[in-house]
C-alpha cells in the first residue's frame, strides 16, 4: 500500500500532513453537532474543492500514474467516486420503488434488454 496526497485545492482549516491527522480530524469533526445539509443537483460538477488524503494499492497507483499521470488523478478519482455515489443513490431509489411497486417483471427486462442491444449498448 502506498500513501497518496490528492493534488486538489486547499481547503481552509483542513491542511493535513498524514493519514493519522486526517483520521483524527475527521473523528473530531464527527463528534461536532452537524447542521443538516441539503444537496442540490449540480450542473457539470461542483466548483468547490476539498483536499483529501487517501491510500491506494501500489499496483493501482502505478497503473493510474502510468495511464493518466499524477496531475489528472484528482479528476479521475472524483469521477469514479461520483459514479459510484450516483449508482448507490439509484440503487436505493430502485429498492424503494420495488417496495412500493413490486418486483420488475421479466417481460420489462426483456423489452429493455432488446432496446439496449438495438442501441448498441
Amino acid at each position: 500500500m502506498t500513501g497518496l496526497r490528492d493534488d486538489g485545492l486547499r481547503h481552509p482549516g483542513l491542511e493535513l500532513e498524514s493519514h493519522r491527522e486526517y483520521d483524527s480530524a475527521m473523528a473530531t469533526k464527527s463528534r461536532s453537532p452537524k447542521k443538516p445539509t441539503k444537496r442540490t443537483p449540480t450542473a457539470g460538477g461542483d466548483e468547490r474543492k476539498v483536499k483529501r488524503s487517501f491510500t491506494l494499492d501500489r499496483k493501482v497507483d502505478e497503473e493510474a500514474r502510468r495511464r493518466i499521470g499524477a496531475r489528472g488523478l484528482s479528476a479521475f478519482v472524483n469521477d469514479a467516486i461520483k459514479r459510484r455515489l450516483q449508482g448507490l443513490r439509484i440503487q436505493a431509489w430502485l429498492d424503494e420503488r420495488e417496495a412500493i411497486d413490486g418486483p420488475i417483471p421479466d417481460t420489462a427486462f426483456s423489452r429493455i434488454d432488446d432496446a439496449l442491444k438495438k442501441a448498441g449498448f
Binding site: P41, T42, A43, Q86, R89, I90, A92, W93, L94, I112
Partner: protein, 130 residues
C-alpha cells in the same frame, strides 16, 4: 456498455418517477453497467410543473444529480440541428435535449420518443427506445 454516459429524456424521467416497470428495468441495467446518468437541463422545463406535485421527479433528479447545462453554443447547435432535419418548431426542446446531451459527451440517450430523437441525433447519439 460499461461506464457509458447516458442522457435521460423527459418521458423516461416521468415514467421512472411513476415507478413504471420498463423505466425501472432500464435504470437497473444502466446501474449494473456503471453508466453515468445525465439529465439535460431542458428536460427540467418539460417535466417540472407544480412543486407540490412533483416530489417524485425532484427525488429522482436529486438522486441522478448530474444536470448538463444548455449554453448559448449548445442552443445554437440545437437550432442548426433542427433546421437540418426539417422537423417543426414544436421539436425545439427535443433538439435542445439532444444538443445538450452531445455537449456533455453522452454516447446514448434513453427516450420514449425514439422517432424524433433519432432524427435529431443522426449518427451522433445511440438511441435507447423505452
Amino acid at each position: 456498455m460499461r461506464n457509458a454516459i447516458v442522457a435521460l429524456d423527459s418521458g423516461v424521467l416521468i415514467l421512472a418517477a411513476k415507478g413504471d416497470a420498463s423505466a425501472r428495468a432500464l435504470l437497473t441495467r444502466l446501474r449494473q453497467e456503471d453508466a453515468l446518468l445525465v439529465i439535460p437541463a431542458p428536460v427540467l422545463a418539460e417535466v417540472l410543473r407544480d412543486p407540490s406535485r412533483d416530489a417524485g421527479l425532484h427525488r429522482l433528479i436529486n438522486d441522478v444529480d448530474e444536470l448538463a447545462p444548455t449554453t448559448a453554443a449548445v442552443a445554437r447547435a440545437a437550432g442548426e440541428r433542427l433546421g437540418a432535419t426539417g422537423l417543426p418548431p414544436s421539436c425545439t426542446v427535443d433538439a435542445m435535449i439532444v444538443a445538450t446531451a452531445m455537449a456533455r459527451r453522452a454516447a446514448f440517450i434513453a427516450t420514449t420518443d425514439p422517432g424524433d430523437i433519432t432524427a435529431l441525433s443522426g449518427a451522433d447519439l445511440n438511441v435507447i427506445g423505452v
